[in-house]
Structure formats: C-alpha cells, structure tokens
C-alpha cells in the first residue's frame, strides 16, 4: 500500500488536493481536500439581506452570475416576489451566457491541454492536439478565448461588467434593453454561432443536438470536438472515472414557473425531487456540528482540523445519498436521449454533456433575445420582510447551486450555500460513503505519480474549488 498526495492542481478554479491510497497501482481509496476556506457564511450574518447580492458573487470569479442569480432568487422567495417576466428572461440570458462561456473555458483552457503533453507523444492524434491545445498557445485556445470575450459583450450590454455584475435583482434586472441593445445582442449571438459551428463543432449545432446515441456521437468527426472524440475513443475515456448514475438538477433558467432545462433527480429513472431531502453531513469535514438541512445549517470551522475530518468541504446528500451535478446531470434530467444513453458514464460522458448543452444553449439564448420587448417592465417591486426565509436554487455551469437565507429583525440570521463542486467533490459521509469524485477515482489503475488518468477524471468534473468551500 502506498499513499500519494496529488496537488496542488492547477488549471482548476482555486486550490485542490487529492490523496490516493494505492495497492499495486490500483486506487483503493481517494480523499479529496479543498484546502481553501474563507468563511462567507459567517461574514453574511447580521448584514442587510440585500448585501448578499454584492457579497456572494465574490465567492467565485468564474461563476459569479450564478451566485448573483441564486442570491436574487433567495431574496425574491423571502419577499414573496415573482420577477417581471422580461426581467427573468434577461437574467436567464445573462446566466446562460456565463454558463456557455464557462463550458468553453473548461474545454479549451482546463481540460484539453493535458492531451498535448509529451506523455502522449506517438499517439496518432498527438501532433494535432499540440497544435490546437498547447497551454496558452494552441490555435483552438486563442480562437476560444476571443470568441468568449466577444460573447461576453452580452454581459457588458445587460450586466454592466463581468465578472461580478450587480444587475440581477430579486424583481428582475436593472437594465431595460432597448431596440439598439436587442440588435447588438442579436449580432453578438450570430457571431458566436459562427464560431461554434465553424471551429468547435465544425457543423450545424442543430445537427449535433439531434444526436441520440453514443455511436452516432463518436461518428461526428468534425471540428475541435471531433479531435476530442478521436482521443476519447483511443484512450477509452468512456470507461474512465465512471459515475454513480445518480444525478441532480435544480432546473436551469426559470421562466414563467417552468425552467428551460427541467428540475429533478435521476437514479436509473426520474425521481421526485424535494429540496427538504437535502442535508449536509459534517462527519469528515473540519466543521463543527451535526448533519443538518441548510435551513438550520451552521458554518463553524474546527480549527484543530481533527480527524476523521480531511477537508473544509461539507458533504451534501439528497435522501442520504451523494449525487453528481453538472451539465450531464442537467441533460439527463431534462431527458435528452444522448445524455440518458450516457448516464453513469465517465470522462467522455461529462465532456459530451457539456458540448450538448453548449449546442442547445445557443438556441436558448437566441430565443431569449428574439423575445425581448423593449417597452415591457424589467423589474417588479417588492419589500423585504422583517422576518422570513427563502431559498434560491439555480444551475451554475458546474451544476446545482443553492442559497438558503433566513431573515430575522431585518438582518441576515442564517445564510447557507451549497455549490456544485460541494456535491461533486464532497468528502465521505457518516456511513463512510465517498463523494462522487472519490467514488469515480476508486478502482482506477494508474501507472505512477504523473498519472494523467487522475488528471482527466478530476478535470472532467470541471471543479470550482473556490465555490466548494466559501
């Protein structure tokens, strides 16, 4: 038995360490540690509830819109307020643009550069991978970074600035777009579609979104995505780091009561999802307290960092069981045939889920822009209660994000956040059951400390460690 600590992982958002116990080259136990703690939940106590709109986005510079959206939804729920429909649509558009930008970042800057490393020299695709995806230099990366910057004009136009917007409010958005903005947004999205279809997908997005089986997916063969699929087939990424097959999605982009991508849980079939079934287990976290629902949750770090704790991360469970969240989870729950066929899959399934969502989200964004009514109300008025509570459940790029807010005497009396990577990279629970990443790593055969297999599995979840422990 040997013990191996991998870390720090770079090219992930924030800090991460993975401790592996090996037996003859096989991982028998994996422990994920999020070694960064800031204490946002403590800072929010006693503040004006509206300040959550400014403070929580700063948990994370890459998915700050998701935090904004969750905070705004939690406040709206506490106020008993429904956002103006056009305001909700604009919040959805801003949010979708961020999620799409994140998927693009992940694929090009965080995930693919590993295949350009010398370790793979000699593989038939290696020269092309080097050309397209060498860190900070590859042709695909330059194109993606530029396309992303241009897509983020959506943020400029509607949200003022990115990262960390202030435009999303409980009642809607502060910016009422006029005909001029509508025209510019249309042009921005048209250019982004041209990039996606010309470079990344190498074909019409609708054709890709219409794929129903993994076999048809592997035959796609076009664009930078085609290169990835070729690599995936060669390295067997389908079987690498397989998931539990249990997925959770809070439903993305709520519009007129119904989200664009459906809400629910999946375990071999659709399951009813009740947010009351969520609880955070602290048995293996450096946190004091017992297992609680986020309404009554506390965040009190155990400064002694006593075992069996090994991470600052709490372990969220739904009905007592860990769930994988993210683009694949959303697409499985939403019922896309390709995603359903790939449920329970590993690295390939997670990346394919993201690509599927990229292709489908472009159409969603185009619909939202086409539906802009410049004269309509973009903000509904409401008042904060002295006492009350509200939950904001949204879907960030990396999966289910929840904010649970309690107000007493007009101030914040409780604020609990469960981020997507808190689900995916959770430590063990009281029953000793590992979190989704840990489970995906256990059983893996690796060839040594430089093992790229572990890198691929970890990165396939697109971890955001700064959100995980906040």
């Amino acid at each position: 038995m040997t013990r191996l600590v991998l870390g720090p992982f770079n090219r992930v958002e924030g800090d991460l360490e993975v401790a592996l116990t090996l037996d003859a080259g096989r991982i028998v136990r994996a422990e994920v540690n999020a070694p960064l703690f800031r204490g946002f939940e403590q800072m929010l106590m006693g503040r004006d509830p509206r300040d959550a709109l400014v403070i929580t986005p700063r948990i994370c510079g890459i998915c700050s819109i998701s935090q904004s959206a969750a905070a705004a939804r939690a406040l709206a729920a506490a106020m008993g307020l429904s956002p103006a429909p056009q305001g909700a649509a604009m919040a959805a558009l801003i949010h979708a643009a961020e999620n799409v930008a994140d998927h693009l970042t992940h694929f090009h800057l965080f995930f693919m550069p590993d295949f350009a490393r010398p370790h793979y020299a000699g593989r038939p695709w290696h020269t092309r991978a080097v050309d397209r995806f060498t860190a900070m230099e590859g042709g695909a990366q330059r194109a993606a970074v530029q396309a992303r910057a241009e897509l983020l004009h959506v943020m400029g136009l509607l949200a003022g600035k990115w990262p960390h917007t202030l435009a999303i409010q409980p009642g809607g958005v502060t910016r009422a777009p006029g005909p001029r903005e509508k025209a510019r947004l249309t042009a921005t999205l048209r250019a982004f579609r041209r990039y996606l279809e010309g470079v990344l997908f190498g074909g019409p997005l609708e054709d890709f979104a219409a794929i129903e089986t993994p076999e048809a997916l592997m035959r796609w063969g076009r664009g930078d995505l085609g290169l990835f699929l070729e690599i995936a087939a060669d390295l067997g990424l389908e079987a690498l780091g397989r998931g539990s097959g249990r997925y959770l999605s809070y439903g993305a982009y709520p519009l007129d009561e119904r989200p664009v991508f459906a809400r629910g849980a999946w375990d071999g079939g659709l399951r009813d999802f009740d947010p009351q079934d969520i609880a955070e287990d602290l048995s293996h976290a450096w946190m004091k307290g017992g297992t609680r629902h986020p309404w009554d949750g506390v965040t009190e770090p155990d400064e002694a960092m006593a075992p069996p704790g090994y991470s600052w991360c709490k372990a969220p469970r739904l009905g007592g069981r860990g769930h994988e969240v993210g683009a694949l989870a959303r697409q499985v729950v939403d019922g896309h045939p390709l995603a359903r066929a790939m449920a329970g899959g590993g690295v390939l399934a997670r990346v394919a889920g993201r690509m599927l969502e990229l292709a489908r989200s472009q159409a969603v964004m185009e619909r939202l822009v086409a539906g802009i009514e410049p004269g309509a109300a973009f903000m509904a008025k409401g008042a904060l209660p002295r006492e009350g509570r509200g939950a904001g459940l949204v879907e960030a790029a990396r999966g289910a994000l929840g904010h649970w807010l309690r107000i007493e005497g007009g101030r914040i009396a409780g604020y609990q956040i469960i981020a997507p990577t808190t689900w995916n990279f959770s430590p063990r629970d009281a029953g000793g059951v590992p979190g989704p990443l840990e489970a995906a790593l256990e059983g893996l055969e690796i060839e040594g400390p430089g093992a790229l297999a572990v890198q691929h599995v970890v990165r396939s979840f697109d971890p955001c460690m700064v959100c995980t422990v906040h």
């Binding site: 703690f37 946002f40 509206r50 300040d51 700063r58 350009a116 400029g156 509607l158 958005v173």
Partner: protein, 361 residues
C-alpha cells in the same frame, strides 16, 4: 540559460506580425495617456530589452482577476501581453500540474533572481498559521514570502491583494490580510478593483515592462494614470446629477431615461477608477451603464461601509447647505435641462459654480 529574448522576439515567435506590433505600441501609448511621440520609444524599448519574467501566484481569492485579464481585454493587447510576459508561472493557465508546477515555480525564481515581477492575485489568511489556504502542502503565506524575496517588484492584483476584499469582511474569519502588510521590503503597486479592468491590468504591466520602472503612484500606491479620477468625474450620467435628475426606484421612468443613480446608493462620487472611461468587456459598458450604481469596489474597505443599498440622500455633496434632493429640485425648477451642457466638466466645484452662474444669469 543566461540570454533572455527581447519582447519583440517573443512576440514574433508567437506569430504576431510587425504591423500588429506597431499597432500595439500605438494602442499602448494612447492607453497610457502618452503622445504619438512615444510610439517609437515604446517600439524601440520592446525591440531591444530582454523581456521581464512574471510569476503569477494565487492566494485566498476567487480567480476573478485572472478571468478579467484573459477574457476582457482588447484582443491585440491581451495576445501581446500574454505572449510578452509569458507568465512563467501561472497557477490558473500553465500547462504543468502538481509537483511539476511547483518545480517550475522554483526554477523560475532561481533563474531570474532579482529580475522578475511577482503578480499576486488574492491574499494570505493568517489565522491558524495560515492553514485556511494551503498550496503544495504549505500555507500560501510562505509561498508568497518566498517568491517575493527575490522579486524586483510586486503587483497586487485586485481588491483582495490590495486591501483584503470581501473575504476580509467582518468578522474576517480567516484574517485575510493584504499583501503590503506581509511583504514590507519591496515596491508594491496596487491595482485595486473587484476585479480590476482588463485594460488597466495590461496597461500597468506594459508600462512596467516597457519603461522598466514603476508607473507614477498615488498616495495609496495605485497607478495615478488609471486611478487619478473619480468614476463620477467622467460618468456619462453626470449631467443628470448636475440637473438633479435621479432614479428613485429600480426600473422607474427615470431609470429608463438614464438618470443619475446617486440616490440608489451609487458610490461613483467617492470611487477612484477608470470604469467610466475605459469601461468593461472590451469597452462595452460599466455597472452604472447597466442601471446599477457603483459599489466602489476599488476603494479600501468597500465591503464594510454599511449596506450597499443605503440611500445616500443626506451627504452634503455641493459644499453648501443643500443635499442632492434640494439641489436637484432647485436646478430642475430653475433651469430645466439646460445644465446638461456641463457634461464635460470634471471638477465638482467648477460644475457647481457654472450651474449657479447659469441659474443667476
């Protein structure tokens, strides 16, 4: 390796054309507020000077500074700067991983001793011996001190490194501490903002690389060229402030007309930054343009100054016995829209004087 390439060589190797290079020099000169005469100087410096290595480390932070840097900037400026500084060690962007990455950091430090710039994103938490932020098995504060020891200068990116930012908000659970309180024996340039504007980041770094010295700093240690004016001074909604036309509620009629957000809690009048001139996301917009007031994210302590949404109607802004409400009503009643012609005037006192003259005459 003793011979370091020049900036120009690095750029050419990265496939940047001579034409783009010259264009970049012109862009830089104008961004830095220098005249056309400086363009050949910048070009000459970049053709002859060895490039300055940059080490970029991340502490307690949210990566928003890196995000701003890589996605916001003018494509040309970003391309050039990225290739120019080569980010010899960058936690978020580099290729290597794990121990190889740590080795790369050490190698860069040794190779360019006394010659590199250390760019810090985020800050070290000092509680519990720094255990709240661990990099490579050690507290981040140790990595920071180690890397700073042989640095020529330190850049504090963003509000975290400069002042502490939200993670230092009361009760500051981890005792997050700004860089200048930990590193005391090196020149430090603060580039605050949450995050800083991409063009400001590239501008600062270009200036340092090109002229091989620190830009002129204000008393707080910020580059004066970007932090010398208040948001309010160049805000496009300023005429409405002068005319006393204010938004009263989100999305009311006045909001649609683009009136001043001062009464919605806008901190533009007390915030020094370039948002209203340079703007965000390739010059598309900035928070006030999106209909929300400025929160003053480039000012020290912005996270603990009472609620962000407190209305600021009682501050005496005109230096006389009137608050914004009263001045507004008077101005609107007497001269109506006529005062809007003062849009370009930046100094508050001068604007006030002229307004009075107008009102009297």
């Amino acid at each position: 390796m003793s011979q370091i390439e020049t900036f120009y060589e690095v750029m050419r190797r990265q496939g940047i054309t001579r034409r783009s290079f010259m264009k970049y020099c012109a862009l830089t000169a104008s961004a830095l507020g220098l005249g056309p005469a400086f363009v050949p100087k910048i070009a000459h410096a970049m053709e002859t000077k060895p490039r300055t290595p940059v080490i970029w480390v991340n502490g307690l932070e949210c990566t928003c500074c890196s995000e701003s840097f890589i996605r916001g900037a003018h494509p040309l400026a970003k391309d050039v700067v990225l290739s120019m500084i080569s980010l010899d060690y960058s936690h978020t962007l580099m290729a290597a991983a794990g121990h190889a990455a740590e080795a790369a950091l050490e190698e860069t430090i040794q190779k360019y001793k006394g010659n590199y710039i250390l760019a810090v994103e985020g800050n070290p938490p000092l509680n519990e011996d720094g255990m709240f932020c661990i990099v490579g098995g050690k507290p981040f504060v140790e990595q920071l001190k180690h890397a700073a020891q042989h640095a020529k200068a330190v850049i504090s990116w963003g509000a975290c490194a400069s002042y502490g930012c939200v993670q230092a908000a009361a009760p500051n659970p981890t005792r997050a501490t700004p860089v200048h309180k930990v590193i005391t024996d090196k020149p430090i340039i603060k580039v605050p903002g949450c995050p800083p504007i991409a063009e400001v980041m590239t501008g600062v770094i270009t200036y340092m690389l090109t002229f091989d010295r620190l830009p002129e700093l204000d008393r707080q240690g910020r580059p004066a060229m970007f932090y010398g004016q208040r948001i309010h001074d160049k805000c496009y909604r300023r005429p409405h402030f002068d005319a006393g036309q204010f938004v009263e509620h989100w999305d009311d009629e006045n909001a649609r007309k683009g009136y001043c957000l001062y009464k919605m809690g806008c901190k533009g009048p007390t915030t020094y930054n370039a948002c209203s001139t340079v703007r965000w996301n390739e010059g598309t917009s900035f928070p006030i343009q999106s209909g929300h007031g400025c929160i003053g994210c480039s000012e020290d302590g912005f996270w603990d100054q009472g609620s962000f949404y407190d209305r600021l109607t009682n501050i005496k802004q005109f230096g006389i016995e009137a608050n914004a409400d009263q001045v507004g009503m008077a101005a609107a009643g007497v001269v109506g829209g006529a005062v809007a012609v003062h849009a370009a005037i930046s100094a508050l006192k001068r604007a006030q004087k002229k307004t009075q003259e107008k009102a009297e005459g």
